[in-house]
């Protein structure tokens, strides 16, 4: 999903995220006897442990997806692969349509229960948008830029490094941002296939009809997701050079 995000909206988003964080913080501090404070006393150990596990799942699976997705996307965009590219794009469009729960279910049938199948399922769900955006980003670099580069005496490797990748960076990063959003949204489901994470508190809370346990999972999950998106939005703004970053002028 390519979102057109205007800079002032970016600032606004960070303000909302900050506001939510502040509310939680205040709730934790002054709500010793309140609902949140109560929940925190009951579940703080679980929350901390599962949050670490949750973040591990995100980092490992999306890290692996980036490590694999970017080179695969680059390979698919090379002229040699041109005649497969339409078919590949179709496959990737279908792939990104498959619900993530279905991907996790298929992962179980292949690899069983545990951390590895969880990471694999998350990795697959994250991989497709990354490959798709790397591929589309590189293909959308105008031909005349490549022609100018070739005409000036750059080798194909030079062109990839100094022209294609830098100019596709914004689209690539948008893909990574979307992919990580998918990943973070799916990680709570990892508990279902034995991968751990904060989903444990949510699903167990639903099963046991235990509202506080449910909240102890749902609130941190929501906050983590918003924080992850905020961090990536900031990274997208600051890491991508001004010349090719439509958010900065």
């Amino acid at each position: 999903m390519k979102m057109q995000i205007l800079p002032h909206q970016e600032r606004f988003r960070s303000r909302i995220a900050f506001g939510l964080g502040a509310i939680l913080g205040i709730g934790l501090m002054i709500g010793e006897r309140g609902y949140i404070g109560d929940t925190w006393r009951l579940y703080s150990e679980d929350i901390l442990f599962l949050t670490v596990q949750h973040i591990q799942l995100v980092l490992v699976s999306s890290g692996l997806a980036i490590l694999v997705g970017v080179p695969v996307g680059i390979m698919l965009s090379r002229p040699r692969m041109q005649r497969y590219s339409e078919a590949v794009l179709q496959v990737f469009n279908i792939g990104t349509t498959i619900p993530t729960l279905a991907l996790l279910a298929l992962s179980i049938t292949l690899l069983g229960i545990g951390f590895v199948p969880a990471v694999f399922g998350l990795w697959a769900a994250t991989l497709l948008p990354i490959v798709r955006n790397v591929f589309q980003g590189l293909r959308s670099v105008p031909d005349y830029l490549k022609e100018a580069a070739t005409g000036m005496g750059m080798t194909p490797l030079h062109i990839l490094r100094s022209v294609e990748l830098p100019n596709a960076l914004f689209v690539i990063f948008a893909g990574i941002r979307t992919a990580v959003a998918v990943n973070v949204g799916t990680v709570p489901l990892a508990f279902l296939i034995g991968g751990g994470g904060l989903g444990e508190l949510i699903f167990t809370g639903i099963d046991l009809n235990e509202m506080q346990m449910l909240m102890a999972g749902a609130i941190p999950v929501a906050l983590l997701s918003i924080a992850a998106d905020w961090i990536l939005a900031k990274a997208q703004y600051w890491l991508i050079p001004r010349g090719v970053n439509p958010l900065r002028n």
Partner: protein, 384 residues
């Protein structure tokens, strides 16, 4: 400097057929000249240009650049030694203007401080302040500014040869004329050997030392702009150059090529009698009055002073207009029409009287061809 010999390109079409994009093209661009490859779209001009730096593989034929057979050179090294400018400009959006200009020097492994200094000098050459522009990104520049950077980027590594593919095609007409003028001024100093693709006849006439006209992959005529306009080789070229091709030649000739120099003159203090005598002597009906150091001040018409007496200063009329000897004939004709006159006084930059020019002389010059351009014949001088 650039020499093509029986250069051909055959494209295979998906249907199994083939298209001849360039057919046995032979031509030579001498050192320091601008050759414009001109023709309608699909005529093979761009294909020919791109074969020179190997962006398009030639099917057969030979290309020499700076005396070397390009078949014996590594294409990548070859391209680094040839400046290349494209219509879309192709500045890299991810690089600052400085880095864009230094692309080829960096590829060649030049010293960074040296190439960065040169980038600044080149920007000054096209009237862009290095202090402002070096660190900017392409998207922060106007189209015309980008185009200037595109040209100096091709000059950065000081290549002897430049290939330009409709380099000013994407700019509005006013800016285009300014950039063309700037470029021609640069070229008088740099003396690069340039192959330049254009589909604009007026641009070709303005820029070219030689024009190569293409049609269906065939080089139809290769001549100087004036020869081309004066003697198109066939009907296609004549119609491509347009009905007004004779008028187009007006911008190729300067006033000093056509004017009558060493004209008789009078001074303010001279008697009218002397003026009448001079006019009768040379057979002209007008005479120019000059100031003490020779600047054109006014004129006398023979019929006005036939029976008058006195000094020239009591009877002269002001000049409606003068024309600089280095103006082209186009502006001279324009001034004649504007002031409803058939002759103009020609002056140099300081206003000194250098001669005069008549409509007859101009039309005679256009009727003649370049080689026998000895146009100052007696017949043409009649109007004076």
């Amino acid at each position: 400097m650039i020499k093509l010999e029986k250069l051909s390109k055959v494209f295979e079409t998906p249907g199994g057929g083939s298209v001849i994009a360039a057919d046995q093209v032979s031509m030579e661009v001498p050192e320091g000249e601008i050759c414009v490859l001109l023709g309608p779209s699909g005529c093979g001009k761009t294909t020919t240009l791109k074969m020179i730096n190997g962006l398009i593989q030639k099917t057969s034929g030979k290309i020499w650049v700076a005396g070397c057979d390009t078949d014996e050179q590594d294409p990548v090294q070859l391209r680094r030694s040839i400046g290349y400018v494209i219509q879309q400009i192709g500045l890299f959006p991810n690089m600052t203007i400085e880095d864009n200009i230094c692309v080829v020097p960096d590829l060649l492994g030049w010293d960074k401080t040296k190439s960065r200094r040169r980038a600044g000098e080149l920007l000054e050459l096209v009237n862009l302040d290095p202090g402002i522009f070096l660190k900017r990104y392409p998207k922060e520049l106007s189209g015309g500014q980008q185009q200037r950077v595109g040209v100096i980027r091709a000059l950065a590594a000081d290549p002897p040869v430049l290939l330009m593919d409709e380099p000013f095609g994407a700019i509005d007409p006013i800016n285009r004329a300014v950039i063309q003028d700037e470029f021609l001024k640069m070229q008088t100093e740099l003396r690069k050997t340039i192959a330049f693709v254009s589909h604009d006849i007026d641009e070709a006439i303005k820029m070219a030392d030689k024009i190569a006209i293409f049609k269906d992959g065939v080089l139809e005529q290769y001549d100087s702009p004036d020869d081309l306009l004066a003697r198109p080789a066939n009907d296609f070229i004549a119609s491509f150059l347009g009905q007004d091709r004779t008028l187009k030649r007006l911008s190729l000739l300067q006033v000093q090529d056509v004017m009558f120099g060493d004209q008789v003159r009078v001074m303010a203090r001279d008697d009218l009698e002397k003026a009448r005598g001079l006019m009768r002597e040379v057979g002209h009906k007008n005479i120019v009055m000059v100031g003490p150091r020779g600047r054109a001040r006014g004129y006398l018409h023979l019929n006005d002073i036939l029976d008058s007496t006195g000094k020239v200063e009591e009877h002269y009329q002001g000049l409606p207009a003068t024309v600089n000897i280095r103006d082209d004939l186009r502006s001279a004709v324009s001034k004649m029409f504007r002031h409803d006159t058939t002759w103009l006084v020609c002056v140099d930059d300081e206003g000194f009287f250098k001669g005069s020019i008549t409509q007859r002389a101009i039309s005679h010059a256009l009727g003649a061809t370049y080689r026998d351009s000895d146009v100052a014949t007696g017949a043409a001088a009649e109007a004076l």
